[in-house]
Symmetry: C2
Subunit: 211 residues, 2 copies
DNA sequence: CGTGTGGTTGACGAGCCTCAACATCCGTGG
DNA sequence: CCACGGATGTTGAGGCTCGTCAACCACACG
């Protein structure tokens, strides 16, 4: 019996290089081993939206049907495993476990994307940055020491803000004692409950009557 | 051999009723036969984001792993087919075609969600409304006569705008000769190329040098 | 040391939101 | 059949948030 792992090729990517571009044929999908990347799309006038940051363990590129709708690039040096779609498709056809696994990966990505819709559509700058920080903190060993491996521009393009607004919002959080910063790329969450409250917006002032 | 169709139950839903709520257990997934619905999520203070409008042929609810992260409701009277997850899971395990079908549905939804990220994160009000109109026009018989079955509030919650901005933007488009309206719920696209150009933002003014 | 890239901070303005008044549509009941 | 009332949509005035433009700073690298 074929194993999924046997179909993968390890690929090393230097910081800033493209894994694939928007419009490329999509014969492979990928999994991150180490480093940080992102998937993004440009509007003709240069505005950019990052769909997802890619961290160790994340899958990407599998959602493309014909060609890639989004580009993928390495933000830091990055190591990924590349899988050929055709052969993994064939494997999925015979192996129910693999097939189910694929479905679960797609569903998790979809759930994450839906969460991001509310962030981009309805949250304020402060709420977006708080959401982002807590998202990163989920994978931090101690849950509060965060390394920002991406630039302010990248964070802005991820959150639908400008780099200036990201910078200002972080400064305000520092000023308010919510976070501490050791250089531009190291954040320590000081007041997690306050940040969590920020991500959801305050409850409306005591609702009288119905629950 | 079991057929997928044999596992579905037809359910009729009155306008405004919930298919399921955020946090509900998710034993079923659904497909729309007729009518319009939406999936949405609320922030504690009442801000709402609509993740997707649901039209005939659309699948929804399958992405939930444990419980639903988003609510689903009928905007107009609606008929859906409800499928039990456990039994369709079992079917997918044995039938490669069904399994592949599920993966494809999930990937299509994911691609649509990614497209919406750039709409919500980077587009102006005018661009968002234009994107929305063209999205609806894709399923119109003549490609330009659109019935808006949802309210201005729903459109706003879908596009990350207020209902007033939606109304004003449509008025501006009418004024500019891009669309014509016969009542608040019937739109005719008059200048498709102009609308299409709007969805992508104008090209930057002639770039000199590198392509 | 220069030079370049990325980050911070400030001043200002545009775009969209908020609040409010008014219009229109539609179902209901007299 | 028409009058009423509520829900939905439109339009206007003003304000706030965040974007734009610009200057300055910090660090990495040759």
């Amino acid at each position: 019996m074929i194993e999924l792992a046997a179909l993968g090729t390890v690929v090393t990517l230097g910081r800033g290089t493209a894994v694939y571009r928007e419009g490329d044929e999509a014969p492979h999908w990928y999994r991150v081993l180490s480093g940080t990347g992102c998937t993004s799309k440009l509007l003709p006038d240069g505005r950019r939206q990052i769909a997802a940051f890619l961290h160790a363990g994340d899958y990407f590129g599998f959602e493309a049907l014909g060609e890639h709708g989004f580009a993928a690039e390495a933000i830091t040096d990055m190591v990924v495993v590349r899988y050929p779609k055709l052969r993994t498709e064939a494997l999925a056809r015979t192996d129910g476990t693999v097939s189910r696994r694929f479905r679960e990966i797609a569903c998790r990505s979809l759930l994450a994307a839906y969460e991001r819709l509310i962030t981009l559509g309805r949250k304020t700058a402060g709420e977006r940055v708080a959401t982002f920080l807590l998202e990163l903190a989920r994978t931090a060993p101690d849950g509060k020491t965060i390394g920002l491996t991406m630039s302010r521009t990248d964070i802005g393009d991820y959150l639908g803000l400008t780099l200036e607004t990201v910078s200002r919002t972080l400064a305000a959080m520092k000023h308010d004692g919510l976070i501490e910063m050791a250089g531009p790329h190291h954040v320590l969450l000081l007041d997690r409950p306050a940040l969590e409250e920020m991500t959801e917006g305050d409850e409306p002032a005591l609702r009288v009557g119905r629950a």
